[in-house]
Symmetry: C2
Subunit: 281 residues, 2 copies
Protein backbone atom coordinates (compact mmCIF):
# COMPACT_ATOMS: atom_id res chain seq x y z
CA UNK A 1 0.00 0.00 0.00
CA UNK A 2 1.18 3.52 -0.76
CA UNK A 3 0.68 6.60 1.40
CA UNK A 4 1.24 9.58 -0.89
CA UNK A 5 2.25 12.82 0.80
CA UNK A 6 3.43 16.16 -0.52
CA UNK A 7 5.13 19.32 0.68
CA UNK A 8 5.52 22.67 -0.99
CA UNK A 9 7.71 21.18 -3.69
CA UNK A 10 8.25 17.48 -3.23
CA UNK A 11 6.18 14.31 -3.00
CA UNK A 12 7.02 11.39 -0.76
CA UNK A 13 5.44 7.95 -0.83
CA UNK A 14 5.54 5.68 2.19
CA UNK A 15 5.45 2.15 0.83
CA UNK A 16 6.40 -1.39 1.72
CA UNK A 17 8.03 -1.82 -1.70
CA UNK A 18 10.39 1.13 -1.65
CA UNK A 19 13.13 2.24 0.72
CA UNK A 20 12.45 3.24 4.31
CA UNK A 21 10.87 6.65 5.05
CA UNK A 22 12.49 8.86 7.71
CA UNK A 23 10.49 11.48 9.63
CA UNK A 24 12.83 13.95 11.34
CA UNK A 25 12.00 14.21 15.06
CA UNK A 26 14.08 17.20 16.12
CA UNK A 27 11.50 19.98 16.07
CA UNK A 28 10.07 18.94 19.43
CA UNK A 29 10.66 20.88 22.66
CA UNK A 30 10.46 17.80 24.88
CA UNK A 31 13.95 17.44 26.38
CA UNK A 32 15.23 20.43 24.35
CA UNK A 33 15.28 23.41 26.68
CA UNK A 34 16.66 25.95 24.22
CA UNK A 35 13.99 25.10 21.68
CA UNK A 36 11.28 25.27 24.38
CA UNK A 37 12.45 28.74 25.41
CA UNK A 38 12.60 29.95 21.81
CA UNK A 39 9.10 28.63 21.10
CA UNK A 40 7.73 30.38 24.19
CA UNK A 41 8.94 33.64 22.59
CA UNK A 42 7.57 32.62 19.15
CA UNK A 43 11.20 32.79 18.03
CA UNK A 44 11.64 30.60 14.91
CA UNK A 45 15.39 30.59 14.17
CA UNK A 46 16.01 27.22 15.85
CA UNK A 47 12.98 25.71 14.12
CA UNK A 48 14.43 26.92 10.83
CA UNK A 49 17.92 25.55 11.46
CA UNK A 50 16.62 22.19 12.78
CA UNK A 51 14.46 21.85 9.67
CA UNK A 52 17.35 22.58 7.31
CA UNK A 53 19.78 20.30 9.16
CA UNK A 54 17.34 17.40 9.06
CA UNK A 55 16.60 17.90 5.37
CA UNK A 56 20.35 17.99 4.68
CA UNK A 57 20.72 14.72 6.62
CA UNK A 58 18.18 13.03 4.36
CA UNK A 59 14.89 13.28 6.28
CA UNK A 60 11.95 12.59 3.94
CA UNK A 61 9.41 14.32 6.19
CA UNK A 62 9.84 16.86 8.99
CA UNK A 63 7.81 16.45 12.17
CA UNK A 64 6.74 19.74 13.79
CA UNK A 65 5.82 19.68 17.47
CA UNK A 66 5.65 22.79 19.65
CA UNK A 67 3.78 21.29 22.63
CA UNK A 68 5.23 22.65 25.82
CA UNK A 69 3.82 24.68 28.67
CA UNK A 70 4.06 28.46 28.12
CA UNK A 71 3.47 27.98 24.38
CA UNK A 72 0.13 28.90 22.84
CA UNK A 73 0.00 26.07 20.30
CA UNK A 74 -2.84 27.54 18.35
CA UNK A 75 -0.63 30.51 17.43
CA UNK A 76 2.83 28.97 17.46
CA UNK A 77 2.15 25.71 15.60
CA UNK A 78 0.95 27.40 12.38
CA UNK A 79 3.89 29.79 12.64
CA UNK A 80 6.34 26.88 12.96
CA UNK A 81 4.66 25.02 10.08
CA UNK A 82 4.99 28.08 7.85
CA UNK A 83 8.61 28.53 8.90
CA UNK A 84 9.53 24.92 8.07
CA UNK A 85 7.59 25.09 4.78
CA UNK A 86 9.62 28.16 3.78
CA UNK A 87 12.99 26.47 4.17
CA UNK A 88 12.13 22.91 3.07
CA UNK A 89 10.02 21.48 0.25
CA UNK A 90 9.25 18.06 1.81
CA UNK A 91 5.93 17.00 3.34
CA UNK A 92 5.40 17.95 6.98
CA UNK A 93 4.17 15.91 9.89
CA UNK A 94 1.88 18.04 12.07
CA UNK A 95 2.39 16.78 15.61
CA UNK A 96 -0.12 17.99 18.19
CA UNK A 97 -2.73 16.65 20.59
CA UNK A 98 -4.59 19.99 20.34
CA UNK A 99 -7.52 20.00 17.93
CA UNK A 100 -7.68 23.75 17.44
CA UNK A 101 -3.92 24.00 16.88
CA UNK A 102 -4.23 21.16 14.37
CA UNK A 103 -6.90 23.00 12.40
CA UNK A 104 -4.90 26.22 12.44
CA UNK A 105 -1.79 24.33 11.22
CA UNK A 106 -3.73 22.53 8.47
CA UNK A 107 -4.99 25.91 7.24
CA UNK A 108 -1.45 27.09 6.47
CA UNK A 109 0.33 23.81 5.65
CA UNK A 110 1.14 23.32 1.95
CA UNK A 111 0.56 20.05 0.09
CA UNK A 112 -0.70 16.88 1.76
CA UNK A 113 0.78 16.57 5.26
CA UNK A 114 0.73 13.69 7.72
CA UNK A 115 -1.20 14.38 10.94
CA UNK A 116 0.48 13.04 14.08
CA UNK A 117 -1.80 11.63 15.45
CA UNK A 118 -5.16 10.05 16.08
CA UNK A 119 -5.59 7.33 18.72
CA UNK A 120 -8.24 4.66 19.20
CA UNK A 121 -9.80 6.76 21.98
CA UNK A 122 -13.35 7.78 21.19
CA UNK A 123 -12.70 11.52 21.65
CA UNK A 124 -9.62 11.45 19.43
CA UNK A 125 -11.33 9.53 16.61
CA UNK A 126 -14.25 11.96 16.72
CA UNK A 127 -12.15 15.11 16.66
CA UNK A 128 -9.15 14.25 14.45
CA UNK A 129 -10.58 12.06 11.66
CA UNK A 130 -13.08 14.67 10.39
CA UNK A 131 -10.21 17.16 10.08
CA UNK A 132 -8.08 14.61 8.21
CA UNK A 133 -10.97 14.04 5.81
CA UNK A 134 -11.76 17.74 5.43
CA UNK A 135 -8.16 18.68 4.56
CA UNK A 136 -7.50 15.53 2.52
CA UNK A 137 -4.37 14.61 4.43
CA UNK A 138 -3.01 11.41 5.96
CA UNK A 139 -2.81 10.46 9.63
CA UNK A 140 -0.76 8.38 12.06
CA UNK A 141 -2.95 6.08 14.17
CA UNK A 142 -1.53 5.22 17.60
CA UNK A 143 -2.65 1.91 19.13
CA UNK A 144 -4.00 3.40 22.34
CA UNK A 145 -7.65 3.27 23.35
CA UNK A 146 -9.74 4.45 26.28
CA UNK A 147 -8.16 1.70 28.42
CA UNK A 148 -4.63 2.94 27.66
CA UNK A 149 -1.80 1.16 25.85
CA UNK A 150 -2.30 -2.62 25.75
CA UNK A 151 0.63 -4.76 26.81
CA UNK A 152 0.02 -7.40 24.20
CA UNK A 153 0.40 -7.34 20.45
CA UNK A 154 -3.02 -8.71 19.57
CA UNK A 155 -4.86 -5.92 21.36
CA UNK A 156 -2.69 -3.29 19.68
CA UNK A 157 -3.58 -4.89 16.37
CA UNK A 158 -7.28 -4.77 17.29
CA UNK A 159 -7.06 -1.05 18.05
CA UNK A 160 -5.35 -0.51 14.68
CA UNK A 161 -8.26 -2.30 13.04
CA UNK A 162 -10.77 -0.09 14.87
CA UNK A 163 -8.92 3.07 13.84
CA UNK A 164 -9.02 1.92 10.20
CA UNK A 165 -12.74 1.19 10.48
CA UNK A 166 -13.43 4.61 11.97
CA UNK A 167 -11.30 6.28 9.28
CA UNK A 168 -13.22 4.47 6.55
CA UNK A 169 -16.53 5.54 8.09
CA UNK A 170 -15.21 9.13 7.99
CA UNK A 171 -14.18 8.91 4.33
CA UNK A 172 -10.43 8.54 5.02
CA UNK A 173 -9.03 5.64 2.95
CA UNK A 174 -6.85 2.96 4.56
CA UNK A 175 -3.78 4.03 2.55
CA UNK A 176 -3.94 7.40 4.30
CA UNK A 177 -3.68 5.82 7.76
CA UNK A 178 -0.18 4.89 8.95
CA UNK A 179 -0.32 2.79 12.11
CA UNK A 180 2.12 3.33 14.99
CA UNK A 181 2.08 0.21 17.22
CA UNK A 182 4.13 2.06 19.88
CA UNK A 183 7.59 1.26 21.14
CA UNK A 184 7.74 1.38 24.92
CA UNK A 185 10.82 1.55 27.16
CA UNK A 186 12.77 -1.72 27.15
CA UNK A 187 14.55 -0.79 30.38
CA UNK A 188 11.17 -0.83 32.13
CA UNK A 189 9.67 -3.95 30.53
CA UNK A 190 11.94 -6.48 28.86
CA UNK A 191 9.11 -7.59 26.59
CA UNK A 192 8.60 -4.06 25.24
CA UNK A 193 10.44 -4.54 21.94
CA UNK A 194 9.04 -8.04 21.40
CA UNK A 195 5.45 -6.83 21.79
CA UNK A 196 6.02 -4.05 19.26
CA UNK A 197 7.74 -6.38 16.78
CA UNK A 198 4.89 -8.88 17.06
CA UNK A 199 2.33 -6.09 16.59
CA UNK A 200 4.18 -4.90 13.46
CA UNK A 201 4.00 -8.41 11.99
CA UNK A 202 0.30 -8.79 12.80
CA UNK A 203 -0.64 -5.37 11.41
CA UNK A 204 1.46 -5.79 8.28
CA UNK A 205 0.22 -9.28 7.47
CA UNK A 206 -3.47 -8.78 8.31
CA UNK A 207 -4.18 -5.10 7.66
CA UNK A 208 -1.56 -4.39 4.97
CA UNK A 209 -1.22 -0.72 5.92
CA UNK A 210 1.96 1.26 6.32
CA UNK A 211 3.56 1.20 9.77
CA UNK A 212 5.63 3.78 11.62
CA UNK A 213 7.13 3.98 15.09
CA UNK A 214 8.99 6.44 17.26
CA UNK A 215 12.46 4.89 17.33
CA UNK A 216 14.05 6.83 20.16
CA UNK A 217 11.85 6.01 23.13
CA UNK A 218 12.70 2.32 23.46
CA UNK A 219 16.20 3.00 24.88
CA UNK A 220 15.15 5.56 27.49
CA UNK A 221 17.23 5.30 30.68
CA UNK A 222 19.83 2.98 29.18
CA UNK A 223 23.41 3.60 27.99
CA UNK A 224 24.27 3.44 24.27
CA UNK A 225 20.86 4.69 23.21
CA UNK A 226 21.74 5.09 19.54
CA UNK A 227 22.92 1.46 19.37
CA UNK A 228 19.71 0.18 20.95
CA UNK A 229 17.55 2.41 18.75
CA UNK A 230 19.12 1.32 15.50
CA UNK A 231 19.13 -2.37 16.49
CA UNK A 232 15.42 -2.09 17.25
CA UNK A 233 14.76 -0.27 13.98
CA UNK A 234 16.67 -2.95 12.04
CA UNK A 235 14.49 -5.65 13.62
CA UNK A 236 11.37 -3.60 12.99
CA UNK A 237 12.23 -3.11 9.33
CA UNK A 238 12.61 -6.87 8.88
CA UNK A 239 9.18 -7.31 10.53
CA UNK A 240 7.47 -4.83 8.19
CA UNK A 241 8.08 -1.33 9.56
CA UNK A 242 8.45 1.08 6.63
CA UNK A 243 8.63 4.47 8.33
CA UNK A 244 9.89 5.92 11.62
CA UNK A 245 10.20 9.15 13.53
CA UNK A 246 13.84 9.43 14.49
CA UNK A 247 16.87 11.69 14.62
CA UNK A 248 18.20 11.88 11.06
CA UNK A 249 21.39 13.53 12.33
CA UNK A 250 22.42 10.19 13.88
CA UNK A 251 24.78 8.94 11.18
CA UNK A 252 24.95 5.43 12.62
CA UNK A 253 21.17 5.26 12.36
CA UNK A 254 21.35 6.32 8.71
CA UNK A 255 23.98 3.61 8.05
CA UNK A 256 21.79 0.99 9.73
CA UNK A 257 18.76 2.00 7.65
CA UNK A 258 20.77 1.83 4.41
CA UNK A 259 22.06 -1.64 5.36
CA UNK A 260 18.56 -2.85 6.27
CA UNK A 261 17.08 -1.55 3.01
CA UNK A 262 19.84 -3.42 1.17
CA UNK A 263 19.25 -6.67 3.06
CA UNK A 264 15.48 -6.43 2.60
CA UNK A 265 15.82 -6.21 -1.19
CA UNK A 266 14.86 -2.53 -1.39
CA UNK A 267 18.08 -1.25 -2.91
CA UNK A 268 18.42 -2.54 -6.48
CA UNK A 269 21.97 -3.62 -7.28
CA UNK A 270 23.03 -2.04 -3.94
CA UNK A 271 23.29 1.29 -5.75
CA UNK A 272 22.07 3.36 -2.80
CA UNK A 273 24.24 1.58 -0.25
CA UNK A 274 27.43 1.62 -2.30
CA UNK A 275 26.88 5.25 -3.32
CA UNK A 276 26.37 6.38 0.24
CA UNK A 277 29.35 4.38 1.49
CA UNK A 278 31.47 6.33 -1.04
CA UNK A 279 29.96 9.79 -0.83
CA UNK A 280 28.80 9.99 2.76
CA UNK A 281 25.78 8.73 4.67
CA UNK B 1 15.31 -26.73 22.78
CA UNK B 2 18.78 -26.94 24.26
CA UNK B 3 21.93 -28.14 22.54
CA UNK B 4 24.39 -28.99 25.29
CA UNK B 5 28.07 -28.92 24.36
CA UNK B 6 31.26 -29.16 26.38
CA UNK B 7 34.96 -28.50 26.05
CA UNK B 8 37.85 -29.54 28.22
CA UNK B 9 36.58 -27.42 31.09
CA UNK B 10 33.41 -25.55 30.20
CA UNK B 11 29.88 -26.35 29.09
CA UNK B 12 27.90 -24.23 26.66
CA UNK B 13 24.20 -24.52 25.89
CA UNK B 14 22.76 -23.21 22.66
CA UNK B 15 19.16 -22.28 23.44
CA UNK B 16 16.36 -20.06 22.24
CA UNK B 17 15.75 -18.91 25.84
CA UNK B 18 19.22 -17.72 26.71
CA UNK B 19 21.60 -15.21 25.15
CA UNK B 20 23.07 -15.66 21.70
CA UNK B 21 25.90 -18.17 21.14
CA UNK B 22 29.01 -17.04 19.25
CA UNK B 23 31.23 -19.49 17.36
CA UNK B 24 34.59 -17.91 16.54
CA UNK B 25 35.36 -18.23 12.82
CA UNK B 26 39.00 -17.16 12.67
CA UNK B 27 40.77 -20.51 12.59
CA UNK B 28 40.06 -21.00 8.90
CA UNK B 29 42.71 -20.64 6.18
CA UNK B 30 40.27 -19.43 3.55
CA UNK B 31 41.32 -15.86 2.78
CA UNK B 32 44.08 -15.99 5.46
CA UNK B 33 47.34 -16.60 3.64
CA UNK B 34 49.61 -16.57 6.70
CA UNK B 35 47.46 -19.14 8.46
CA UNK B 36 47.35 -21.30 5.31
CA UNK B 37 51.14 -21.26 5.07
CA UNK B 38 51.55 -22.06 8.75
CA UNK B 39 49.11 -24.97 8.51
CA UNK B 40 50.95 -26.38 5.50
CA UNK B 41 54.02 -26.61 7.78
CA UNK B 42 51.93 -28.05 10.67
CA UNK B 43 52.97 -24.91 12.54
CA UNK B 44 50.42 -24.20 15.32
CA UNK B 45 51.42 -20.85 16.83
CA UNK B 46 48.84 -18.86 14.83
CA UNK B 47 46.15 -21.41 15.66
CA UNK B 48 47.02 -20.97 19.31
CA UNK B 49 46.95 -17.17 19.24
CA UNK B 50 43.72 -17.03 17.19
CA UNK B 51 42.08 -19.37 19.70
CA UNK B 52 43.15 -17.29 22.68
CA UNK B 53 42.18 -13.98 21.09
CA UNK B 54 38.70 -15.26 20.23
CA UNK B 55 38.18 -16.68 23.71
CA UNK B 56 39.27 -13.34 25.18
CA UNK B 57 36.78 -11.57 22.90
CA UNK B 58 33.94 -13.69 24.29
CA UNK B 59 33.56 -16.54 21.79
CA UNK B 60 31.52 -19.37 23.32
CA UNK B 61 32.80 -21.99 20.87
CA UNK B 62 35.88 -22.04 18.63
CA UNK B 63 35.55 -23.32 15.07
CA UNK B 64 38.59 -25.19 13.77
CA UNK B 65 39.02 -25.48 10.01
CA UNK B 66 42.30 -26.38 8.32
CA UNK B 67 40.96 -27.16 4.83
CA UNK B 68 43.34 -25.81 2.25
CA UNK B 69 45.39 -27.41 -0.50
CA UNK B 70 48.85 -28.55 0.65
CA UNK B 71 47.45 -29.49 4.05
CA UNK B 72 46.93 -33.11 5.00
CA UNK B 73 43.74 -32.65 6.99
CA UNK B 74 43.81 -36.09 8.50
CA UNK B 75 47.06 -35.19 10.30
CA UNK B 76 46.70 -31.43 10.77
CA UNK B 77 43.07 -31.22 11.94
CA UNK B 78 43.60 -33.41 15.05
CA UNK B 79 46.79 -31.46 15.77
CA UNK B 80 44.91 -28.14 15.55
CA UNK B 81 42.07 -29.49 17.70
CA UNK B 82 44.55 -30.58 20.37
CA UNK B 83 46.30 -27.21 20.19
CA UNK B 84 43.08 -25.25 20.66
CA UNK B 85 41.94 -27.58 23.45
CA UNK B 86 45.22 -26.92 25.29
CA UNK B 87 44.76 -23.14 25.37
CA UNK B 88 40.97 -22.89 25.73
CA UNK B 89 38.40 -24.77 27.79
CA UNK B 90 35.33 -24.08 25.63
CA UNK B 91 33.63 -26.56 23.28
CA UNK B 92 35.09 -26.83 19.80
CA UNK B 93 33.44 -26.84 16.43
CA UNK B 94 35.14 -29.36 14.15
CA UNK B 95 34.88 -27.93 10.66
CA UNK B 96 35.76 -30.29 7.81
CA UNK B 97 34.23 -31.90 4.74
CA UNK B 98 36.70 -34.81 5.09
CA UNK B 99 35.29 -37.90 6.79
CA UNK B 100 38.61 -39.39 7.80
CA UNK B 101 39.89 -36.09 9.15
CA UNK B 102 36.64 -35.77 11.11
CA UNK B 103 37.11 -39.18 12.72
CA UNK B 104 40.72 -38.41 13.58
CA UNK B 105 39.67 -35.08 15.12
CA UNK B 106 36.83 -36.67 17.11
CA UNK B 107 39.32 -39.18 18.54
CA UNK B 108 41.35 -36.41 20.20
CA UNK B 109 38.67 -33.77 20.88
CA UNK B 110 37.70 -33.38 24.56
CA UNK B 111 34.11 -33.06 25.74
CA UNK B 112 31.13 -32.90 23.41
CA UNK B 113 32.01 -30.90 20.30
CA UNK B 114 29.85 -29.59 17.47
CA UNK B 115 30.57 -31.14 14.07
CA UNK B 116 30.50 -28.66 11.17
CA UNK B 117 28.78 -30.08 9.16
CA UNK B 118 26.40 -32.56 7.62
CA UNK B 119 24.30 -31.63 4.57
CA UNK B 120 21.09 -33.09 3.15
CA UNK B 121 23.14 -34.84 0.45
CA UNK B 122 22.82 -38.60 0.62
CA UNK B 123 26.59 -39.21 0.85
CA UNK B 124 27.02 -36.65 3.64
CA UNK B 125 24.11 -38.01 5.73
CA UNK B 126 25.49 -41.55 5.36
CA UNK B 127 29.05 -40.68 6.33
CA UNK B 128 28.71 -37.94 8.97
CA UNK B 129 25.66 -38.92 11.04
CA UNK B 130 27.04 -42.35 12.13
CA UNK B 131 30.18 -40.58 13.41
CA UNK B 132 28.07 -38.02 15.28
CA UNK B 133 26.15 -40.86 16.90
CA UNK B 134 29.27 -42.92 17.64
CA UNK B 135 31.07 -40.03 19.37
CA UNK B 136 27.92 -38.63 21.03
CA UNK B 137 28.43 -35.12 19.72
CA UNK B 138 26.20 -32.55 18.06
CA UNK B 139 26.15 -31.48 14.41
CA UNK B 140 25.37 -28.50 12.19
CA UNK B 141 23.00 -29.42 9.36
CA UNK B 142 23.36 -27.30 6.20
CA UNK B 143 20.27 -26.98 4.01
CA UNK B 144 21.90 -28.26 0.83
CA UNK B 145 20.87 -31.44 -0.92
CA UNK B 146 21.92 -33.35 -4.03
CA UNK B 147 20.31 -30.63 -6.17
CA UNK B 148 22.38 -27.90 -4.51
CA UNK B 149 21.22 -24.92 -2.43
CA UNK B 150 17.54 -24.11 -3.00
CA UNK B 151 16.70 -20.50 -3.71
CA UNK B 152 13.49 -20.55 -1.72
CA UNK B 153 12.90 -20.78 2.01
CA UNK B 154 10.37 -23.62 1.93
CA UNK B 155 12.77 -25.99 0.22
CA UNK B 156 15.53 -25.15 2.70
CA UNK B 157 13.08 -25.92 5.47
CA UNK B 158 12.23 -29.26 3.82
CA UNK B 159 15.91 -30.21 3.67
CA UNK B 160 16.24 -29.31 7.37
CA UNK B 161 13.35 -31.65 8.08
CA UNK B 162 15.00 -34.47 6.10
CA UNK B 163 18.30 -33.96 7.96
CA UNK B 164 16.44 -34.22 11.28
CA UNK B 165 14.66 -37.38 10.12
CA UNK B 166 17.94 -38.95 9.03
CA UNK B 167 19.56 -37.96 12.33
CA UNK B 168 16.74 -39.52 14.30
CA UNK B 169 17.03 -42.73 12.27
CA UNK B 170 20.74 -42.76 13.17
CA UNK B 171 20.10 -42.26 16.89
CA UNK B 172 21.04 -38.57 16.97
CA UNK B 173 18.35 -36.59 18.84
CA UNK B 174 16.89 -33.41 17.34
CA UNK B 175 18.40 -31.23 20.08
CA UNK B 176 21.86 -32.27 18.86
CA UNK B 177 21.19 -30.97 15.35
CA UNK B 178 21.66 -27.23 14.79
CA UNK B 179 20.32 -26.17 11.40
CA UNK B 180 22.19 -23.67 9.20
CA UNK B 181 19.74 -22.30 6.58
CA UNK B 182 22.65 -20.65 4.72
CA UNK B 183 23.24 -16.96 4.10
CA UNK B 184 24.19 -16.31 0.49
CA UNK B 185 25.78 -13.18 -0.99
CA UNK B 186 23.34 -10.26 -1.03
CA UNK B 187 25.43 -8.45 -3.65
CA UNK B 188 24.72 -11.31 -6.06
CA UNK B 189 21.04 -11.88 -5.28
CA UNK B 190 19.03 -9.15 -3.59
CA UNK B 191 16.65 -11.72 -2.15
CA UNK B 192 19.48 -13.60 -0.42
CA UNK B 193 18.91 -12.23 3.08
CA UNK B 194 15.12 -12.41 2.80
CA UNK B 195 15.22 -16.09 1.84
CA UNK B 196 17.45 -16.89 4.82
CA UNK B 197 15.29 -14.88 7.23
CA UNK B 198 12.16 -16.61 6.00
CA UNK B 199 13.86 -20.01 6.32
CA UNK B 200 14.88 -19.17 9.91
CA UNK B 201 11.25 -18.34 10.77
CA UNK B 202 9.93 -21.52 9.17
CA UNK B 203 12.52 -23.78 10.81
CA UNK B 204 12.11 -22.15 14.21
CA UNK B 205 8.32 -22.24 14.22
CA UNK B 206 7.82 -25.71 12.70
CA UNK B 207 10.87 -27.71 13.73
CA UNK B 208 11.79 -25.94 16.98
CA UNK B 209 15.50 -26.73 16.68
CA UNK B 210 18.41 -24.39 17.25
CA UNK B 211 19.57 -22.38 14.24
CA UNK B 212 22.99 -21.08 13.27
CA UNK B 213 24.36 -19.23 10.27
CA UNK B 214 27.68 -18.03 8.93
CA UNK B 215 27.32 -14.27 9.35
CA UNK B 216 30.23 -13.05 7.24
CA UNK B 217 29.38 -14.37 3.77
CA UNK B 218 26.30 -12.27 3.11
CA UNK B 219 28.30 -9.05 2.58
CA UNK B 220 30.91 -10.51 0.20
CA UNK B 221 31.99 -8.03 -2.48
CA UNK B 222 30.32 -5.02 -0.82
CA UNK B 223 31.77 -2.10 1.17
CA UNK B 224 31.08 -1.80 4.92
CA UNK B 225 30.97 -5.55 5.42
CA UNK B 226 30.83 -5.42 9.22
CA UNK B 227 27.80 -3.09 9.08
CA UNK B 228 25.95 -5.40 6.69
CA UNK B 229 26.90 -8.50 8.68
CA UNK B 230 25.69 -7.14 12.00
CA UNK B 231 22.48 -5.73 10.49
CA UNK B 232 21.75 -9.15 9.03
CA UNK B 233 22.54 -10.86 12.32
CA UNK B 234 20.24 -8.47 14.19
CA UNK B 235 17.38 -9.32 11.83
CA UNK B 236 18.19 -13.03 12.06
CA UNK B 237 18.15 -12.94 15.87
CA UNK B 238 14.68 -11.37 15.81
CA UNK B 239 13.57 -14.15 13.44
CA UNK B 240 14.86 -16.93 15.71
CA UNK B 241 18.57 -17.34 15.02
CA UNK B 242 20.32 -18.28 18.28
CA UNK B 243 23.87 -19.00 17.19
CA UNK B 244 26.29 -17.85 14.48
CA UNK B 245 29.79 -18.39 13.19
CA UNK B 246 31.38 -14.96 13.05
CA UNK B 247 34.43 -12.92 13.90
CA UNK B 248 34.27 -12.29 17.67
CA UNK B 249 37.05 -9.69 17.35
CA UNK B 250 34.61 -7.36 15.57
CA UNK B 251 33.60 -5.16 18.48
CA UNK B 252 30.70 -3.57 16.60
CA UNK B 253 29.32 -7.06 16.04
CA UNK B 254 29.59 -7.80 19.77
CA UNK B 255 27.76 -4.55 20.56
CA UNK B 256 25.00 -5.42 18.08
CA UNK B 257 24.57 -8.89 19.61
CA UNK B 258 24.33 -7.44 23.14
CA UNK B 259 21.71 -4.92 21.98
CA UNK B 260 19.71 -7.61 20.18
CA UNK B 261 19.77 -9.92 23.22
CA UNK B 262 18.50 -6.99 25.30
CA UNK B 263 15.70 -6.14 22.86
CA UNK B 264 14.67 -9.79 22.56
CA UNK B 265 14.16 -10.12 26.31
CA UNK B 266 17.25 -12.30 26.86
CA UNK B 267 19.11 -9.97 29.20
CA UNK B 268 17.28 -9.75 32.52
CA UNK B 269 17.21 -6.20 33.88
CA UNK B 270 19.70 -5.27 31.11
CA UNK B 271 22.49 -6.44 33.41
CA UNK B 272 24.65 -7.84 30.61
CA UNK B 273 24.19 -4.84 28.35
CA UNK B 274 24.79 -2.20 30.99
CA UNK B 275 27.77 -4.12 32.41
CA UNK B 276 29.43 -4.42 29.02
CA UNK B 277 28.75 -0.80 28.15
CA UNK B 278 30.68 0.13 31.31
CA UNK B 279 33.47 -2.44 31.33
CA UNK B 280 34.04 -3.05 27.62
CA UNK B 281 32.35 -5.12 24.99
Amino acid sequence: VQTNLSGSGRSVTISSDGPFTVIGERINPSGRRRLAQALSRSEMSLVRSYAMAQLEAGAHLIDVNVSVSAVDEQTVLPLAIQTVAEVTDVPLCIDTPNERALRAALEVCPGKPLVNSVTGERASLNSVLPLVEEYGCAVIGLTIDDQGIPWDARRRYEIAERILDAAKACGVPAEDVVIDPLAMVVGVDQQAALVTLEAIELIRSRLGVNITVGASNISFGLPERSLINRSFLTMGMAAGLNCAILDPLDVEMRRAIAAADLLLGKDDFAVGFVGRSRHGW
